[in-house]
Amino acid sequence: MAREEPDDRTLVLRVQRGDHEAFGVLVDRHMRRAYFGALGLVGSHDDALDLSQDAFVRAYRARDSIDPDRPFYAWLYQILRRLCFNHLRDHRNRARRLREAHPWLADDAWSAAGRADPAITVEREEIRTRVRDSLALMPEREREVFVLKEFEGLKYREIGELLHIPIGTVMSRLYSARQRLANQLGDLL
């Protein structure tokens, strides 16, 4: 019979008693989510890896202040988003950097179209490029909500809890983000 995995609360309590291995289990459990959370915000694989790992290191240093009764990832995400926003402010030419960076946004419709019609492929590529550029220029807080909804598939309630904002604010930021994207795509829509 497989041994049951300890929940986050148990692991956090063990980490607070100085158990490194328990922290390793927490990292394994949340690394993908943290990585993709950072990728959606900074748009670069290398930076996402660096920032998400840095968030875990800072989380470990501040382990005594973790409330075991609250979701661990929500707490980690507060560190992660702060690191990502600071990183973006420190790299003001991010739009150019993102265009030059390794592709971070994939389009399944583009991949499928590639096997069918070259004209559609070109159009999908143009759409993907414009979406990527528009995201790079989008205000951070709108981009954050858009990424959490569109790429991570969170519910409005979950986004609100993660960012400590009301659901109405989630929806209004999402609307603004989609407006920008729609304007950017213009004739392609």
Binding site: Y60, I127, F151, S172, L174, Y175, R178, L189
Partner: protein, 148 residues
């Protein structure tokens, strides 16, 4: 001009989070307004476009090394703390010894003593200024999170 309630209802409808009653309200409003209908169509097309997009996955090997990288950073963090404390103690002691030597020595020229005092005073003022800015000004600045 589309009001906030309609915007929110459109978002909820696009993302499948709308209640039946709200959906009926949205449908009625769309039918009654050409502007709203145009906006709704545009947003639906956008949703179709972005719905097929996802964040590109990195190579699998990064997950294998992820924890060991985090662990190394944690270790290095501790090493840096020790290194910094050691360096501060040694440098402070060396500076103290050097200053003491200069002021105790009757052979040291007057301009060396003046230069040393000037260097110390300048360093202290700079340190106090930087610390004050970090601790007080940043904390009280209501625009610190605003993208400049």
């Amino acid at each position: 001009m589309i009001d906030e309630r309609m915007r929110n209802l459109m978002m909820a409808a696009l993302d499948g989070e709308i209640a039946k009653r709200d959906r009926r309200e949205l449908d009625a409003a769309i039918e009654a307004s050409d502007d709203l209908e145009g906006e709704w169509d545009r947003l639906q097309r956008l949703k179709e476009v972005t719905g097929t997009m996802r964040l590109e996955s990195p190579p699998d090997r990064i997950w294998q090394d992820y924890w060991s990288s985090v662990y190394s950073r944690m270790e290095r963090g501790v090493a840096w703390i020790f290194l910094t404390v050691g360096a501060v103690v040694l440098v402070s002691w060396s500076v103290w010894q050097a200053v003491d030597e200069i002021f105790q020595s009757s052979d040291a020229p007057w301009f060396l003593k003046v230069g040393t005092v000037s260097l110390i005073v300048g360093t202290v003022i700079l340190l106090v200024s930087v610390i004050r800015e970090k601790v007080f000004v940043n904390r009280r600045n209501p625009y610190k999170d605003v993208h400049q």
